[in-house]
């Protein structure tokens, strides 16, 4: 099918004129789960950096596909296969538009950010990283942007270099710059830190890396739900993000790659859909993006992901960012007033993440007690043990906010934390 023609038909952004003024209570109505109670208390869901909740529009899109249009994609001549294919490819158009990629050929559907990073490590990485070379990451990476590079470096006899962060949880740019050398084959780093909330100055860093001809992969899992992303403006080489953190279903993510890079990369997994012809002597691979999408994809969830992008578009990323920023300011102020509470991660540029520790009280106990109040926070190392080691703590409690959270919920959180302190007094 002609993907680029599709884009001109369904690719238009919802007109801003249709947007109504931001009303968090109306947004909450869109999320069925927010009406439920936990331990008899209204749910206060503050674990959005782990995974966000889903609006009815997403749930319905998945249900509608299965009820009305479902069949396998890309193969059938029959009506349902064509309808499923169209819905699936429309989601690609939406994803392309969401990060302003140049073409749908640069949008690879994967299972999530983790698979996207692994894909690049196992294809681009295995071709370009050789013995003695270096791969550069940072201290604030999620394990999923550490381990694939560790495995690659071990296999190739290459070295993993790590750019340090300061006490506020910000990257030290001068140190990062020093670690860019002629041996550096790739810089892989978080756009936004999951454990600290730090928003990295990626435009500047990409410019720095490109001066050394070092391509950059950004882990955008925590950025995609909160920031407008423009891969062309950033000039980033690879960008990875997950549907489930941005109101879409789990099991879907996107790897963006510059077309020339993707074109030159060997396939990741092999099988159906990623080939154009197979004989026992030789197989010719399919064109982009299908070369990297072996097997029947996660059709319904990709369609649900498209609905999630529509949902974000309808609210507007700017409104989302404004609301979350107000929540972050309020949360920072409210939590700072609690005696014995220390916020971990106080970067100047920060997403709505409140990671904290309480003097003399283990985060695990905080989590259990808050849960009894219906408050869902994450406790632990957040799959970022090097960050915990950097701050010499075993774990934190983390409240991470989304567009549907309210100041009242932050008050409930603060009251819950004060109750925790009382239990342990």
């Amino acid at each position: 099918m002609n993907v680029s023609r599709e884009s001109s038909v369904v690719g238009a952004r919802p007109s801003p004129a249709k947007k109504s003024p931001f009303d968090v209570h109306r947004i909450r109505e869109d999320f069925p789960i927010l009406k439920r109670k936990v331990h008899g208390k209204p749910l206060v869901y503050l674990d959005n950096a782990a995974s966000s909740q889903k609006p009815k529009a997403v749930i319905d899109a998945i249900s509608r596909l299965y009820s009305e249009d479902y069949a396998n994609v890309h193969r059938g001549v029959h009506e349902l296969s064509q309808r499923s294919t169209k819905a699936y490819e429309n989601a690609r158009v939406k994803a392309r538009r969401f990060i302003n990629a140049r073409t749908e050929r640069e949008i690879i559907f994967v299972r999530g950010t983790t698979e996207a990073v692994n894909l690049v490590a196992q294809t681009y990485g295995r071709v370009h990283v050789r013995a003695g070379d270096e791969v550069l990451i940072t201290t604030m990476e999620h394990h999923s942007n550490i381990v694939p590079w560790q495995i690659l470096c071990e296999e190739k006899g290459a070295y993993l270099r790590v750019a340090p962060i300061n006490d506020e949880g910000e990257l030290i740019l001068e140190e990062l710059e020093k670690l860019l050398t002629p041996k550096t084959r790739l810089l892989a780093m978080a756009h936004v830190s999951n454990a600290l909330g730090t928003i990295n100055p990626v435009r500047e860093i990409i410019r720095m890396a490109h001066e050394w001809d070092v391509p950059v992969l950004l882990d955008g899992a925590q950025a995609a739900p909160h920031l407008a992303i423009d891969v062309q403006e950033l000039g980033v080489d690879f960008y990875a993000f997950s549907s489930h953190k941005m109101f879409g279903p789990s099991g879907v993510g996107v790897l963006y790659g510059k077309e020339a890079l993707l074109d030159a990369m060997p396939p990741y997994q092999s099988g159906g859909d990623m080939i154009s012809s197979v004989t026992f002597e030789k197989t010719t691979y399919n064109r982009l993006p299908y070369k990297f999408e072996a097997g029947t994809p996660n059709i319904a969830d990709v369609v649900g992901f498209g609905a999630a992008i529509d949902y974000i578009d309808a609210i507007g990323m700017e409104s989302i960012a404004t609301h979350e920023h107000a929540l972050l300011d309020y949360g920072t102020q409210t939590l700072s007033e609690i005696p014995g509470l220390q916020l971990i991660g106080q970067a100047r540029e920060k997403a709505a993440v409140l990671s904290f520790v309480l003097e003399g009280i283990h985060p695990h106990d905080i989590g259990t007690i808050l849960d009894q109040d219906g408050i869902a926070v994450r406790t632990g190392h957040h799959c970022a043990q090097p960050v915990m080691d950097r701050f010499k703590i075993p774990a934190t409690a983390r409240a991470s906010l989304a567009v549907y959270n309210t100041k009242e919920e932050i008050d409930v959180l603060a009251a819950g934390i004060r109750r925790v302190i009382e239990v342990f007094r």
């Binding site: 331990h39 003399g360 009280i361 283990h362 985060p363 695990h364 106990d365 259990t368 007690i369 009894q372 406790t379 632990g380 190392h381 915990m388 075993p394 774990a395 109750r419 009382e422 239990v423 342990f424």
Partner: protein
């Protein structure tokens, strides 16, 4: 405080978590092992000195949540002077208690003070916290070289 929470964080448990007993290293202890709970980052090292088949001294070091610290502390208090078989039997009963295999009343007497951990039943995710020190003790007695993990 809600009832389940009061059951979990009993005064005795809070006391032991704030002022853990036998929180010290036994230098050159023949029996020692490390335990790790990756879920919450709890780490514990258990030291045991055996004499004539009995636990003459037992201590621990580590950093953990209230439940795991109190459990380690009360374990060391409860096991001094016991034989290895007796210690195993107590762990078995303790395990049954925190996992809810046996109603609290039935095992309370033989466990003595350790019965305060009955509240863990209502919090299955915390069972690993309550049993970390015990699993580590077992590894120490068996002289297992590698750190044990709850996952």
């Amino acid at each position: 405080m809600m009832e389940e929470l009061r059951d979990l964080y009993q005064e005795v448990i809070l006391d032991h978590s704030k002022r853990p007993r036998n929180l010290r290293e036994i230098e050159n202890a023949e029996h020692q092992a490390k335990g790790y709970n990756p879920l919450c980052g709890d780490r514990v090292t258990v030291f045991v000195v055996l004499k004539d088949g009995k636990i003459q001294d037992v201590s621990f070091q580590g950093d953990g949540c209230a439940i795991s610290t109190a459990s380690a502390s009360m374990m060391t208090e409860g096991l001094k002077g016991k034989t290895i078989d007796e210690a195993e039997a107590i762990f078995g009963k303790f395990h049954d208690l925190v996992t809810g295999k046996v109603p609290p009343g039935e095992v309370t007497e033989s466990l003595g003070k350790l019965a305060v951990f009955a509240g863990v039943q209502e919090f299955p995710i915390r069972v690993k916290c309550a049993t970390l020190a015990w699993h580590t003790l077992r590894a120490a007695l068996e002289k297992r070289p590698e750190a044990i993990s709850t996952e």
